[in-house]
Symmetry: C2
Subunit: 239 residues, 2 copies
DNA sequence: ATGCTAGTAAATGTCTGACATTTATACAAG
DNA sequence: CTTGTATAAATGTCAGACATTTACTAGCAT
């Protein structure tokens, strides 16, 4: 893979890092491949070597690349990628051609983890958490009917699940809320959007909310699993 | 807080980053505090501005610091720290005066997550995973008797739990294995080391191993929770 | 032929100094 | 009291030279 297919960018090192990261996440380079050298990147994008080094430093700290003096820059195995780095989530969001293996892995994680998180949320949620959950749910309701509000609906969806992670009141679980946006966004494209699907999804979300409000951990856990089950089946994670 | 209490270091930017990170993780600066400026750090440790910038860039990408031109460098809230960054785990290991709030949060996470992970491991473990688990368990057995092998025993302990995460065969769960070392190491100091405690712990680990070997997800999940319960009670996470 | 040993080229890592940009502060004018 | 401007101080960026690590090559000796 060469650089030539990548578009020039406008902004600074952030933008450059994002551009390169997204190419990597889409699978344009294979693990073990040699990544282009600093100078080539610099001349292609017409930026200083410093910018390139800053950008590559970010990709390296996200586990995407391995750089060693003399050898060059190498693409690391997907299992070494720091999927939980917030920067990664930022890079993944809106990427329509995200590696399917990744989409599946992240969703499988959510399918196993979110029931636990919902249970914790039911035990630990305070008034502010519940207000956030309710606001997100109402947003989902308002945007469920029109096809034009699809993007907004997804945002409220993200907000609802993120509020659940926040409500767990655990520093580690809270970090994982970052994974939600790319995971939910990646599925918006591939799924059908019949109205009854939305209605069904809404009522399942409602059950999670109600269980958390009444502090019923077991019910929240069960309901959270039901929210994710249909898509889990579609992805072949569970049968 | 000033720099003056920190020892000079030997190595390069890695070492410097580690030094500063550990001071932050121990709570030497409060969230919102202004961190020393590049030049001061450089003169104190007698390194170039480049090294300082590289080190600070790592702390920034770990969510520990927030840097903006003109204002300076500020310490971020603990809730913004990227606890799941592998670098963070590296910095935390062996830190005897880790912030107790962090120790508790990480253990609470494990207490809720590891039952799920063990369940997944029971479903997905292959021969190599089971070999790793058995090797780790045997190591724990061998080092359980002598007080001199305490450090080795902790290493095998880490290996056992990490092997469980690996056996889940999920890219996201696998990343979280990094948290195990600091979590387990932080507890080695505070806990009593009576022999019957070790025996008890060993038999609980054995039940996890056996459940995974016979592919019994529910039993593995239950057993994993039993492994963690005693410490969870000691830390006040559950009663 | 095989294996060892320079030697060389090419890549990333580091240092230095100058300059750019952003932010907070002080001070003066309205 | 508010607004605007000048100044200082901090991080951000650039450019060039040099250092270090690594892989490859050629040549020599066994």
């Amino acid at each position: 893979m060469t650089l030539e297919t990548l578009p020039r960018h406008k902004g600074g090192a952030d933008e450059l890092a994002r551009l390169l990261a997204r190419a990597l996440l889409a699978g344009h380079w294979q693990p073990g491949d040699i990544f282009p050298k600093e100078m080539d990147i610099g001349t292609h994008f017409d930026v200083s070597r410093n910018q390139v080094r800053n950008a590559l430093a970010r990709l390296t700290s996200a586990g995407l690349l391995d750089r060693t003096a003399g050898r060059g820059t190498q693409v690391r195995e997907m299992s070494d990628w720091h999927l939980l780095d917030p920067l990664m989530s930022e890079w993944m969001t809106g990427l329509t051609d995200l590696d399917p293996q990744l989409t599946r892995a992240i969703y499988a994680f959510r399918f196993s983890a979110e029931p636990v998180v919902a249970g914790l949320a039911a035990e630990a949620a305070d008034a502010a958490d519940i207000a956030r959950l309710e606001a997100a749910f109402e947003g989902m309701q308002k945007t469920a009917q029109s096809a034009a509000a699809r993007a907004q609906h997804a945002e409220y969806d993200v907000m609802f699940h993120d509020a659940t992670y926040q409500a767990s009141h655990n520093l580690v679980w809270r970090q994982m809320g970052h994974l939600l946006r790319p995971s939910i966004m990646a599925l918006v494209h591939g799924s059908q959007h019949r109205t009854d699907t939305f209605d069904d999804s809404l009522s399942r979300h409602r059950r999670v909310l109600e269980a958390i409000v009444r502090r019923d951990a077991e019910a929240a856990s069960f309901a959270a699993r039901e929210v994710l089950r249909r898509t889990a089946i579609d992805l072949g994670i569970v049968n």
